[in-house]
């Protein structure tokens, strides 16, 4: 099993979800995160004092998939999340030893 992780722009979430659902993914988990990278942050000004904020709001997706699907899911994410502008984010794949569904105790592919 693999865990495909994606960091994307928040407003792309619906498109990405649709894309992986379309591929057959039945579940996923998202987290509000903040990214730092080539994309610049922004400046805030409060009563004349300037603060530089380096972090940009991003959404992180985590999707458990069968080994064979990892690349395809990663590609789906990338295609759907791409705007071509800096800050589109990353996708990475992590090996997973085991997966279980809590409700049933099923393991492996059945647990997805």
């Amino acid at each position: 099993m693999k865990l495909v992780v994606g960091i994307i722009k928040p407003f792309k979430l619906d498109d990405v979800k649709a894309a992986v659902q379309d591929f057959g993914v039945q579940g996923l988990t998202i987290t509000e995160v903040q990214g730092f990278g080539r994309q610049r942050g922004h400046t805030e000004v409060y009563r004349g004092a300037e603060y530089t904020i380096d972090f940009v709001p991003k959404v992180k997706l985590e999707i458990l998939v069968d080994d064979g699907d990892a690349l395809a899911v990663a590609e789906r994410i990338m295609d759907a999340a791409r705007t071509g502008k800096i800050g589109d984010g990353k996708v990475w794949v992590v090996p997973v030893d085991a997966v279980y569904r809590i409700r049933t105790g099923e393991a492996g592919t059945d647990a997805l």
Binding site: V45, R47, G48, A49, Y51, I53
Partner: protein, 427 residues
Amino acid sequence: MLFDFENLNAGDTAWLLASAALVMFMTPGLALFYGGMVRTKNVLAMLMQNFFALGLVSVLWGLIGYSLAFGGDGPLIGNFDFVGLKDVATMYPPDPAGVEWFGLFTFPPVVFAAYQMMFAVITPALITGAIADRMRFSAWVWFLGLWAVIVYTPVAHWVFSPSGWLFERGALDFAGGTVVHINAGIAALAAVLVLGRRRGWPERPMPPHSLPLTLLGTGILWFGWFGFNAGSAGAANGVAGQAFMNTHMAAAAAMLGWLVVERIKSGHATTLGAASGAVAGLVAITPCAGFVGGIAPLIIGAVAGVVCFLAIQLKTRLGYDDSLDVVGVHLVGGLVGSLLLAFFADPAINAAVAEPGIFITDGGTALLVDQLVAVGATLVFSFVLTFVIVKALDVLLPGGVRVPEEDEETGLDLTQHSEVGYSFAER
């Protein structure tokens, strides 16, 4: 002096009651205004310091403060005639010989005592903005009580009581430019000089945690300020109307003034700037509200907006950590208003103006001198006493006036009050 209930005017009484309620509402408004500007971990501590002023100062006012501020006819301080609100249902303080002041009032004495109480509450509450994020709550309790009695009541007597030496001298303060704003503003400076800077200031960013809260507080302050200023006419009459109009005009003009200079200097007109500018204008018009007319409030407001914005930039350079700019807004705004009054005070607007302002027909500098004396006396008295009080507390209180480093890092809400502001996450 027994109040003759035959003189009671229900309209004036209604307006004073409404005004007292409005001024009371300003303290929660101030709490929110400041509360939105601090970091999440200190929001409750800020709210608490302000709400607690409604509790402690009010009780002290009833027990002793009103009597010290208005009892008797001495020039420097009141007496004990009204301790525990004795006789307040029927009696006004005596008017000094040859002056008719309380004798002209058309609302019950208890209403006057209640109205003045709200000023006594909010004045020390203003200081919370300067000392934010680092004072122990128990130290605040002591400071608040001592300051309200030792610093506030004498200055209120000097300026607001017809027997007070500044009042007699001819200094004008319609609704508290010296008594409230300069007094609290300079005390804030003294307090932060003793207290020291917040950990990490000014390197670490400490952005407001909720500007909507601050804007809400601004709205409440603005709304309540009509009671503060127009209520200070002591009647529902033309002066009250003029004070009302001037209050609004100055707030509006100051907002524009602040935003213009902010836009020029830092590229954006900010929401916090709009709020701060409005408050600066309200501060500056306070001493002038019922004494000026025409476009004077627009000028006073616009000047206050610009000057206060510039004044705020000084603190980083001078190195004192006035967290939420009480000095820049209340001290400087109060000075702007109290001194510009000497230029615009107009007997045509208010017959109580004995010495017309410099820009007014037949005007002169007499008033300017009186204003400088009043301002100077307040600055020195309040600064010195406040400094001494905080220093003394720092020595006398076990633990001093400041929270330990680690508690400052954790935040005052948890360490001082065992609470957190928000628990949005559900379990």
